[in-house]
């Protein structure tokens, strides 16, 4: 108990631990730029591995591998269209999640009442040793 995490001190969590674990698993799948790029591509519609490979100019093996990880985390599902196998975002929640994420990084979100993220970051930056 040398360093307690700040999350526990501030406010009672509304999520059960099991739900938090599952949500964190989903977010983990978004923690690598290459997987986010693939999801971004799928935001425009279903794509085959070949499409994704040529659009993102990534290696085909790594596209397949990242798609497997995304499927494991129920962000993407595979469908058969004719003889081709295409990948699509799992459901509309994933679409909403990605759209909200994009708006967030573009800085277009509306501040909420308890928005205290920025001052905390500011404090930490000020505490860094110069140079």
């Amino acid at each position: 108990m040398r360093q307690s995490s700040p999350g526990h001190a501030a406010g009672e969590p509304h999520l059960s631990e099991a739900v938090a674990e599952r949500l964190a698993d989903v977010m983990f799948a978004l923690s690598t730029p290459s997987r986010v790029l693939i999801l971004g591509c799928l935001l425009e519609g279903p794509r085959s591995v070949g499409d994704l490979t040529s659009i993102l100019s990534m290696e085909q093996s790594s596209v397949s591998h990242q798609l497997r990880v995304l499927r494991e985390h129920t962000l993407v599902r595979a469908e058969r269209v004719g003889r081709q196998r295409v990948y699509a975002l799992y459901d509309e929640h994933v679409v909403t999640l990605l759209r909200a994420g994009l708006r967030h990084v573009e800085g277009r979100g509306q501040p909420t009442a308890s928005d205290s993220a920025r001052p905390v970051l500011g404090d930490r930056a000020a505490g860094l040793p110069a140079g």
Binding site: R2, Q3, A24, D25, F28, T32, P33, S34, M58, E59, S61, S62, H65, Q66, R68, V69, R71, E72, L128, P129
Partner: protein, 553 residues
Amino acid sequence: MNDRRDTIELGADVTQAWFTPSADRRSLLDRAHRGDIVGALGRVSSADAGPRPLYRRRIAALLAIMGPGVIVLVADNDAGGISTYAQVGQDYGLRFLWLLVVMAGVLLVNQEMVGRLGAVTGAGHARLIYERFGRRWGAFALGDLLTVNFLVIVTEFIGIALALGYFGVSRYISVPLAALVLIALPLAGRFRRWERAMYLLVATSFVAVPLLVLAYHPTPLPPVPAGPRHLAPESTVFMVIALIGTTVAPWQLFFQQSNVVDKRITARWLRYELADTVTGTLLFTLGAVAILVACALAFAAAPFHGAFVDASTVAGELRNQAGQWAGALFAVALLNGSILGAGAVTLSASYAIGDVTGTKHSLHRSWRDAPKFHGSYAAIVVLAAAIVLIPKAPLGIVTTGVQALAGVLLPSALVFLLLLCNDRAVLGPWVNARWLNVIAATVVAVLLVLSGLLTISTLFPHAENNWLVTAILVISAGVLGALFGLRLSSQNVASPAGRHLPGKPVWTMPPIETLPPPARSTTRTIALVVLRAYLLLAVLAVVIKIVGLIAAS
């Protein structure tokens, strides 16, 4: 209280350390591979990046981090290992004791390298091979691993059946029971619980020490006028090679790397992981030497000298030579080693499958949380146990097949390992030092020759094989290997300077899919060409053997 005082005394350092980014690995496939280290004997926070000036705290961290190296190396004294040490001791006395010490050094070098790969990259061994050597080599490495692992697990169940058979338990009870225990061990999804169970097996493996004490005072026997059996020199060569083949196995590489990743050990803790591997090597040596010496002493003046049959007969003969306790202790050691070995070997396969298919694969996850991980583990265990229970199953062929296949796979795994450990894109400042490359390349070259000989002598038991030819081949391979190791290092020009980079403790591999393709160098090409040629020869030998068998029937 102490912590606070350190902070005041070393204020500047501590502040700096707290703000250095933690060595978070960016190629992880499973969120469960990120977080606090929760070992059997302690816990280390993932936020813990500060220096550890107090020995007390260093030891606490070591106890928490220790595990992957100790488990993998003690598990090396498994059913195959114990039977081989017993055979060598019984048939040759103490003549090959030195070889075990050499093998311990080889194991240490190999396991240190995979531990480093795991901590720095966060990726499993199979995935690194896929990404850096392409799909074909990756599929080859994975397929071979799974095949050999499966056969090894079958031999572990044979060991369990023999050991409990010594106590009069039917294999139809002992084998299913052992399978259930093995499946239950990781099921709860608690890494700490699994590691504690493994430690219990590690601790039980020390029954080999009292066995040695008992064997040292064998009950005096009337001299037996049996004529000494003369062991043919070719069977001696085979014996030596089999000893090496059972000691250095590919599953150990895959297991330790994945287990280090799963235990959340980062580059910040590499010194502790090295201490873990060294401890494991010492425990391995102790266990193996105890079995070999015990059998050598017990059978020194006995009619069984030079007449090894299998592990269960060893237990029975030990009872006759050194008393009831000695036989029982040997059976317990065999049972324990088989369970530990089966647990670790199966896990290495499940880790590798999860690693390549991108599914969740962690001991931190329960059955419900990672069904494919636990499912593949259970399927392998059940299938292997079922084979042992088939009446009149050709178990002898399995044992021979293990050695032949292990012979094919081992050198290829080591070639990949050596090249990966010299890949600047993968290990950055953590690439192999020059001296390590020379040692490792020599070892790989010697093993390549010995495994080739093992494959040939397994397939052609009557082939001409003598000490002189073996010695010449081994020495020339060793010299070539050492030269190759020097060459590997000369391409890593920045290597000596890179070892003291200020950012070294927190350097981690960039996301694996963003790495530049491996540089095309002559050393790399030579290594892969040699590997291809070697595999081609091995496959050719297998084909000739099969054709011969078909023609004979």
